[in-house]
């Protein structure tokens, strides 16, 4: 069976100053996602995570456009769809949860209207059954007394509740894929944990696939089946969460993992030196080499090729590739 979502060699470019400058916000990104699976997309801010997601739902800002690649979703190429066709996919088959629950809800519309809208437009549900549907949705995201609360307005709800409302909106169309773009960054830690549990339960109930965009590795460890690490518009390493946490191959993944506090460990936390790169002026060769502990001369000259470490485990790094080669040579000698 083909995967639910297959992004291959996606390139999304921003053009500015009348086309004189091109910023490759997403550069040759490929990944796949099966039904019911969860992918963690992680990286520092500005590395292209959000642009990747917006490319999938085809809601890029005017300056950006998809310059190449394919996005196969349920057997169809989304890059070939018109906006009109995409509208029937957004909110129905693919939903997205945005970062800021406070700002994601329209302050002047009731919860009922905002949650009911996708069902109203996509499934033509009206009247009593729409009310029933909204109540069910609110119940499923554990809003207490939904009949009462659906008449409320966003400002009458707490931050955690609002984010659950946003979750209900995402579920409203019965999607196959939910893209969650840092959905918990603006929540308290306890509420964050509750919300993540909720998402996990909902996923078990509905079998929806989730792309979890975050820079929080703790969330990835808790939520995801596999993860993709992005740096400067590229996926530098992807594999199952277990593999990556056990034996990361790319120095950037290693650095990210060693900047994660470990329970009981007294070792000082590692901070990655330097700044995330400016996408408009990338260094030559491997974009990470100026900040890399293991950089070799080759890294400054040539972009690393993909090296395969397992069935679903790839990384773009010269050092890792060399180590792999050596190990292979030693084994075959």
């Amino acid at each position: 069976m083909p995967p639910l979502l297959e992004v291959s060699e996606l390139r999304t470019h921003f053009t500015s100053f009348g086309g004189t400058r091109v910023v490759k916000a997403v550069d040759d990104v490929s990944f796949t996602l099966d039904e019911g699976e969860t992918l963690g997309l992680i990286g520092e801010s500005g590395c292209g995570k959000t642009t990747t997601c917006l490319s999938i739902v085809s809601l890029l800002p005017p300056a950006a456009r998809i310059a190449g690649g394919r996005i196969m979703f349920a057997g169809e190429d989304l890059t070939k769809k018109t906006q009109r066709e995409m509208r029937h996919i957004r909110g129905r088959s693919i939903a997205m949860i945005l970062q800021d629950p406070m700002a994601s809800l329209n302050p002047l519309f009731s919860i009922y209207m905002q949650v009911g809208e996708p069902a109203y437009y996509h499934q033509n549900i009206r009247g009593r059954s729409l009310r029933q549907r909204v109540q069910d949705l609110l119940r499923s995201v554990r809003i207490p007394s939904p009949t009462m609360r659906m008449r409320d307005y966003p400002h009458q709800m707490s931050g955690g509740m609002r984010q659950r409302i946003v979750g209900a909106i995402a579920l409203a169309g019965g999607p196959k894929l939910i893209i969650a773009d840092e959905p918990t960054t603006n929540l308290d830690v306890t509420i964050q944990a509750q919300y993540l549990d909720l998402l996990k339960d909902l996923q078990e109930d509905t079998g929806v696939a989730i792309i979890f965009v975050t820079h929080n590795l703790g969330i990835v460890a808790k939520m995801c089946d596999k993860m993709a690490v992005m740096y400067a518009g590229k996926i530098v390493e992807q594999a199952s969460v277990r593999n990556l946490f056990d034996a990361p191959k790319h120095p950037y993944t290693k650095a990210l993992l060693s900047s994660l506090p470990k329970l009981g460990s007294k070792a000082p936390l590692y901070a990655i030196p330097g700044q995330p790169p400016n996408l408009a002026r990338l260094p030559t060769g491997c974009a990470f080499h100026p900040r890399c502990r293991d950089a070799i001369p080759l890294c400054t000259e040539h972009e690393p090729q993909e090296t395969r470490f397992g069935p679903e485990w790839t990384a773009h790094c010269w050092c890792a590739a060399q180590a792999m080669q050596e190990a292979y040579d030693r084994a075959s000698a």
Binding site: L59, D100, P107
Partner: protein, 306 residues
């Protein structure tokens, strides 16, 4: 909420008090209004009589107390020329001014809001340039000159519309355009910027993510939010138009409040000028107070924030 209303009301009262003090002081600062007003060669005895009649021979605090009393009783003093309370004259003219102001508001809505929306939705497109040009010309072309040019073109040359006076819609259309012109431009600017702000918001992004038709997103989700500041401005504009349409009413011989003020100036009817200005101030302070309180009711975020 109650506290908010009380505080706003107190501020409004302070504003009105300062306004009355300002008007009182300005009239007294500039010397003796009676000499300014009198016919050349009037006898001193006559002047003294007029002074006594207006209470100008009393001490300043007494005079101010009398002025305040006039405001509080709602009379706003006696017009010298009409020999009637200023407030009576003001409210006689109010329906005419209201008619003109409502027509001008309609014009400013018809031009300003659609153009502002299109400008924002199609930002930097040729449509946007048209919108911006209207906004620019609205602030650069004086409304009264536009009125004169319209008279020249439509009344004198084309003979389509009557030059002045009050009557049916044909009398109303030119003064309404001349008056509404400036306000159309300011509504356009505000609609455009308010719409741009809303269109950039996360909830509009979410509305698109729900797969709603773009028209629904703009016409329902964005417009309702962008409309709040626009309607606020329009409400305040209406009251300003009622009271400040002096030149337009003069040009089109429209018997409104602005023309009343002009008559006061020309006949050197100081109590009338002073009273109309005070009445205009009272109207505007009141409408601001009402709008603030309504606003707090409509937008629950404000209600809770205070």
């Amino acid at each position: 909420m109650g506290q908010f209303m009380i505080r706003r009301t107190v501020y409004a009262l302070i504003t009105l008090f300062i306004l009355s003090l300002t008007i009182f002081t300005v009239v007294r600062l500039t010397g003796d209004p009676v000499t300014l007003m009198a016919e050349p060669g009037a006898k001193d005895a006559d002047l003294a009589l007029v002074r006594a009649e207006w209470g100008l021979d009393r001490s300043l605090p007494m005079q101010y107390a009398a002025f305040l009393k006039n405001i509080l009783t709602g009379e706003l003093g006696q017009s010298f020329n009409y020999e009637m309370p200023v407030s009576t004259l003001y409210f006689q003219r109010l329906p005419n001014s209201l008619e003109l102001a409502l027509a001008a508001t309609l014009i400013s809505f018809v031009i300003g809001i659609p153009a502002g929306i299109v400008s924002a939705v199609r930002v930097n497109s040729p449509w946007d340039h048209v919108g911006k040009t209207i906004a620019l010309l609205g602030l650069s072309i004086p409304g009264f000159w536009l009125g004169l040019v319209m008279i020249l073109v439509f009344s004198v040359w084309l003979e389509w519309l009557p030059t002045s006076g009050q009557g049916d819609w044909r009398n109303l259309i030119m003064p309404a355009i001349a008056l509404g012109w400036y306000f159309a431009a300011s509504l356009l600017r505000l609609t455009r910027s308010s719409m741009l702000e809303v269109l950039r918001s996360e909830y509009i992004k979410l509305a698109h993510l729900k797969g709603l038709p773009s028209f629904t997103v703009i016409a329902i989700h964005a417009f309702k939010n962008a409309l709040i500041p626009v309607l606020t401005l329009a409400g305040v504009n209406l009251v300003v138009m009622i009271n400040a349409a002096v030149i337009i009413e003069v040009i089109f011989a429209w018997p409104g409040i602005g023309r009343l003020l002009y008559e006061g100036i020309f006949q050197r009817d100081f109590p009338l000028v002073q009273g109309v200005v005070m009445e205009a101030g009272i109207m505007i302070v009141l409408i601001n107070l009402i709008v603030d309180i309504l606003y707090a009711y409509i937008d629950p975020r404000i209600r809770l924030a205070r």
